[in-house]
Symmetry: C2
Subunit: 110 residues, 2 copies
């Protein structure tokens, strides 16, 4: 007897912090560019400043990203980067998602 193909526990254990689309976008951006500032992320994601602010705060509190406020001349610039932990969590998330999708091949469309 074949095991049931959907591993619901695996789905349920997806990292909720990364599963949120807003934060997934942020982390995906940072995975690609390695460093990005607030303004860039806001433009890329189309989020309001407040929303972006609260999400990066959560990512930082989780240890997934670092925040650095530096000055360029007289202008402050807040930039973000993935930590090793963040990248690891992200790749883990992608792996879980990939395996879920893999299992569903051929089932989703009859």
């Amino acid at each position: 007897m074949r095991a049931f193909p959907i591993d619901a526990k695996a789905v349920a254990s997806l990292d909720r912090l990364l599963h949120e689309p807003a934060r997934l976008s942020i982390v995906a951006c940072l995975a690609v560019v390695d460093e990005a500032d607030f303004v860039f992320l806001q433009a890329q994601t189309g989020m309001t400043g407040g929303n972006l602010s609260s999400h990066v705060k959560k990512l930082e509190q989780a240890g997934y990203i670092t925040t650095s406020k530096e000055f360029q001349g007289s202008k402050p610039r807040t930039s973000f980067a993935l930590t090793d932990e963040g990248r690891e969590a992200f790749t883990g998330y992608l792996t879980s998602m990939r395996s879920l999708l893999g299992v569903l091949d051929g089932h989703a469309s009859k």
Copy 2:
């Protein structure tokens, strides 16, 4: 100049109803077996009855699944199945997720 690879709008427009892991598990199960009853889904997903009940209600209200209560002898049995609309939404979700994952190949792990 290459376009930025992450399409945050696409990520943000993921169907929130399906994006929720609990409901994703339910719909994934139904995509595989075509019909399942309450008890089976509860066992598969490991959810409490209350939680499962509220999620299937939402899926039904969205038109993604149908609920049918039949009697087997004297025992009631509530079973669920994907509607065409539900299957369509599900395949759409999978397609979006796949394209996101595709874009990230080679970026996630440096």
